[in-house]
Each structure stands twice: as structure tokens, then as C-alpha cells.
Amino acid sequence: MKIALLGNPNTGKSSVFNLLTGMRQKIGNFPGVTVEKKSGKYSDGKESIEIIDFPGTYSLNPRSVDEEVVSKVLNDPSNPDYPDLIMAVIDASRIENNLFLFTQLYDLGLPMVLVLNMWDLAKKEGIQIDLNKLQECFPDITIIHTNARVGIGKDRIIDTIKNHKKRADTSFIKSDEAPQKTEENYERKIAALRKKKIQEITPKFVEKERTKKTSKLDLLFVHPVWGYLFFLLVLMVIFQFIFSFASYPMDWIEGSFLSLSEFTASTLPSGAVNDLISQGIVPGIGGVFIFIPQIALLFFFIAILEETGYLSRVVFIMDRIMRPLGLNGKSIVPLMSSLACAIPGVMSTRTISNWKERLITILIAPLMSCSARIPVYTLLIALVIPEGHVFGFINIQGLVLFGLYLLGILGALLTAFVLKLLIQNKSKGFLLLEIPNLKAPVWRNVGFTVLEKIKIFVFDAGKIILAISIILWFMASYGPGNEIEKSSQELIKSEAYKASNSEEQQSLKSSVMLEHSYIGHLGKFIEPVIEPLGYDWKIGISLISSFAAREVFVGSLSTIYAVHDEREEKQNLRETMKNEKRADGTPIYSMASGISLMVFYVFAMQCMSTLAVVKRETQSWKWPIIQLTFMGVMAYSLSYLSFLILS
């Protein structure tokens, strides 16, 4: 049996879903649309039951891409996800408002179970619901109450679904009272009629005695000064946490994949397959996994902010500030997510109802410095920025890192402003935002959200990163004709080679091989183009190979500079790079070329996975190509400018 789980946002719908399915969840896609399908299974003792958790919505008339899928599936019995039963979740403390969607669902005529969730909260707020009277209004469905947040009601729900009632051909809006679809303002008329009927029946089963009390905290959260300062503080705390804690698991992941790659290299019979696995596939998978700690941590915090209801307050105070830039208050979440990874960031724009605002958010999201840029930034900063302090206490290297983040954010906002002037759009943007009550987070829900985002990253971005890693491995290991072989022969005859120990010889060999590979040729081919930025062909090689994922830049430089002993790699690489000289004896990595390279990484769209996701979200190649182009132009011109100024 297939069950559709539906309800307004903030009703505790995901709590119900997580309560029933636990770990037996998976994320897929609704056929034909880009919205994720969250589904899960549970067993009622007799059969296995599939629940599909639809996006929260206030009505069956969609106002965003996210919500569109609900009406699309429910209005089409031939859809593979068309349910056998609808489970509607209602926030009991907001029953009158929630009944709008519920009665729309009721009118679909499918068997139905109504879950009045947050029963305890309703009681606390002085709302008495007479279940018998409510049942009289909707006699052919079963109605139960739960407190899914604290895990109460699971058995009751399972039992109810098992013994659900048959529908008796009833509907809330009778066909003779409904306005004609062809009438002017039909949508408004039917909504008003439905609302009027709900207002008529509600007093029959609800007794309320309450006045809305605004929380003291809200006075802080939406305060014209403290509100913004508090948000800034929250951001600072989050990033402090991410930077100080993510490095431990990251080092561990890096070490494990290195060992794994050494292990496969030494155990498998040597040859092309061995190389493919130990140099292409294993490091490729490692390159995906390395980002999980940062992504998990960031989404852990975002999920908490969302669960507590604080994020709605942030959207509320940011909307007016974002609007002149063509953005929406809701853009804040995707942009924050993009500081970990642009892929979940781009995907979380689906809640923005206005297409233009959503598109601009998507286009600027990759300009936020993501976690893949950090290894590049830290290597280059350590290389060209002197250690020391300004004003006695501000670390210069830290300041530069902060500056790079700021540069990305400023670039993003400026780009948004320009895009706003360029992109044509007729429909007016609007903001209809619920500000839910503040509440403590449900840790189970936070955990599942984090898990879901990691899955999306691993499967969406991971596939592409892995595929490109393999292609790049091939291009780096093979070259035109027998050039690689010939140059290796020459190397072996050279004096320097003979004087080295076997480890050094291995590194020298890899370096020569890379120089004469397809990528090496490409690097030399683009050298004239990147020379004005202060780069040479070796950096060119690394720029090309970091197109799969930016952090590949570091590994690729290690290979080209023949840095051996991979565990001490970072230290040695820095030393080697420091000593790299141009033909005229000046260092390759000067302050000017180093900063130029950092600026390049701030702006360049070096991430195939993001392009693929943007294509999927905008349904055409037009926008990812535009994005690739303008980010490329920005990267090139601004790096050129900074090199010119600094050298």
C-alpha cells in the first residue's frame, strides 16, 4: 500500500514521518520533476507500507516548484506515486488554518486518515477540540491525535491506517455550490467559499480562549539593531565550530583513503587496472568523502535554526535588504548552505516562489566560498602571506582568509544586482511566510535532515566528481604517441635521477609523466592565456585538473612538483613551491601571483557538479552556460587586475 503524507509546513509532519519509518528512508525523484521524493517504509505486521513525505504546503494550488509536485501527483491517478490513502497531518493548535488544505484533500475522495498533531501544545494554549463533533463533520475518515515530537502515537497511527474506513462519496464543497471554473476570479471565489465553510463549522468542535502572546525572544530576533547583530553572532559561532571541528574527521578521512590507495596499489597486480583503481577511483571517492564533515556540520546548524523557527525570523528581517538585489528573504538559506557546498544550496532555492528571485539566487550561489576552496586558500595563504599580526592581535593570514570569503559574498551580491537589471520577468515577487512559534529542536529530525543532505551531496555531486576524476586520471596518465615513454627514458639517463634515492626517483618520474601527458599539453597550451595573471603551465595543469573539484588543485601541484612522501605532502609542497623560479629568477609564487590565484578561485566556476545541478534546477543548459561564462570573466579579469596592481 502507498500512503501520501501531507500537511502544512510546521505541523510536525516530518516528525510523524521519522517516527513511522525510522532509518528505512530513501530519497529519490518524482518522475518528470526535479523535486526530491522522500519516502520510507514500515510494516504493520501484515504488509510493508510505503509512505511518501510530500513537501509541506498550505493549499493544493501551488505557489512554488516545491509545492507543484503535490497537486501534480494527486490529480493524476496514472502517476506512479498516486497514493491509496492520504494521511493528513494538522497542527491541532492551528486547526482552523490547517483545515484549508485538509478539506481540499478530503475533496479528492481518497481514503483518508487525519492526524491531529501537537495535541499537547493545543491543550496548553487553551484550545479544546471535541473529536466526536469533528468526526461528525467528516464521518468517513478516521481521526486521531498524537504528539509526534515526543514520539507519542506511533502504534495508534499504524493501527488506524491498517483499519482505515472506506470513503462514502462525500465532499466538503458540494458540486452545486462551487463556482464554475470558467468564472472570473475562480481561484479566489473557491478559496473564499472554502474558508467561509470552514469558519462556519469550526465553532462546532473547537473552543478557544487565547490571545497571541509574542515571545520575549522575538523582540530580540526582529529588533532593528540587535536582530542583525544576533544573526551575525549566530553565523560567527557556526563557522567557528565548523573550522575548529571539521578538520579532525577530515584528516582521518584523508589518511584512510591514502592508506587504502597504497593498499590497493601494492596488493593488486600492477598495470593499468591497478593504476585506475589506486590513482583514479580511490582518490576520486576520497575527494567526495572529504567534504562530508563540513557539509554535515553546516547542515546540522541550519537544521537546528530551521527546527526552532529562528530561520523564519531571519528571512523576515532580511527580506527588505535582499530585495533591491533581486533576491528574496528566503535566499538567505541557500546562500548560507553554499558556504558548505553550492549543490544543496542550489537545491534549497525551491522554496522561493518567484522565478526571477530564485534564478538569481541559483546563479550567485556558487560565488559563496564553499568548503572545497578552503584547501586551496590555506595552501596559497601559507605560501605568500607573511605570518604576523596587525594592531598586535589580528592574524594577517586569518584576515586574508576572511577577506577571500568577503570578496566572494560581495561579488555575489553585486552580481545579483546586475542580474536583476538584466533578467526580464513579468510576475511580481511576493513573500508569504509563516513565522512559527519558537520551540526546542527535535534532535531526531535534525539528524535525518543532516543525513538527507549528505546523501544528496554524495549521490549528486559524488557521481560527477568521481567520473571526472577518472577522466582526469586518464588524461594525466596517458599522452600523445610514445612521448611519456621517451621522456621517461631520458630522465632515467639524467645525472639528477641517478643521484636520487628510489622514492625521489618515483616522484621525478610522475612529474615527467604528468608534464608529457594530455593534461600537461593542455596546461602548456593555455599558458599564454594565463600568463598575464602571473601563472605558468604548471599552475595551468592544476587549474584544468581542479575542474572536477577545486581541492584537486593541491594534489595535482604535488604531482607536478614531484613532491614525494605523501603524508608530509603539504609541508614539502609549500617548500618546493616557494623555491619555484621563473626563467628570470623571480619566484613564481609571489604575493602578486599568489593573490591573483586566490582571487581566481574565489570567482571561477570550477565545479562540474554544480553546473549539472543548475542545469537540472533551471531545466536548460542556458543558465549553467551563462553562469560558467560570467564567473569565468569575473575570475579572469579580477585576477588580472590584482596581479597588475600587486606586481
Binding site: N97, K196, P224, I317, L431, L432, E434
Partner: protein, 84 residues
């Protein structure tokens, strides 16, 4: 209970925090049905509970459900102020 109105037919965008209001008319437009779906209907008794910094957007109390809308939407909602 009969309500006594102090001022009739003012735009919601011109109202202040805390004033007791009765929605008199929602002008036709793309947003109107969506407002009704979310509970903002004609004849609703409501009040503004937050106004964001810079005066926009505003948040309304709709029977305990807090809905935030932009000023540009609030302009199309006419309300009567209720005297206390």
C-alpha cells in the same frame, strides 16, 4: 459584540503595530487567493505584531498563526481600525 470603528478603509500598509484591525476588503489580484488560503480573509480581526527593520515586511496575527507579508501586498488590503 458590535465593533466600533475609529477609522474606516485604511490600507494595511499604513497601520501601526498593535492596532486592532478588521479586514474590510482584499483587492483582486494574483496574491488574493493565496492570502485567503493562508487565513487572511475579509472580516478577519487581526493586528500587526512585528514590523521588520526598514518597515517592511510586516507580520500579522491570524488566529494565533503568524503570517508575514510584504508592504506591497499589504497595500491591497483595506482595514478598519477598531477602537478599544
Amino acid at each position: 459584540m458590535t465593533l466600533i470603528f475609529e477609522v474606516m478603509n485604511v490600507r494595511l500598509s499604513d497601520c501601526k503595530i498593535g492596532e486592532e484591525l478588521k479586514v474590510n476588503k482584499i483587492e483582486d489580484g494574483d496574491i488574493a487567493p493565496k492570502l485567503i488560503e493562508m487565513g487572511l480573509t475579509e472580516n478577519l480581526i487581526t493586528k500587526i505584531i512585528f514590523i521588520a527593520p526598514l518597515g517592511d515586511p510586516i507580520a500579522l496575527d491570524i488566529n494565533g498563526f503568524v503570517l508575514s507579508i510584504r508592504k506591497s501586498e499589504a497595500k491591497h488590503i483595506l482595514v478598519n481600525k477598531i477602537s478599544s
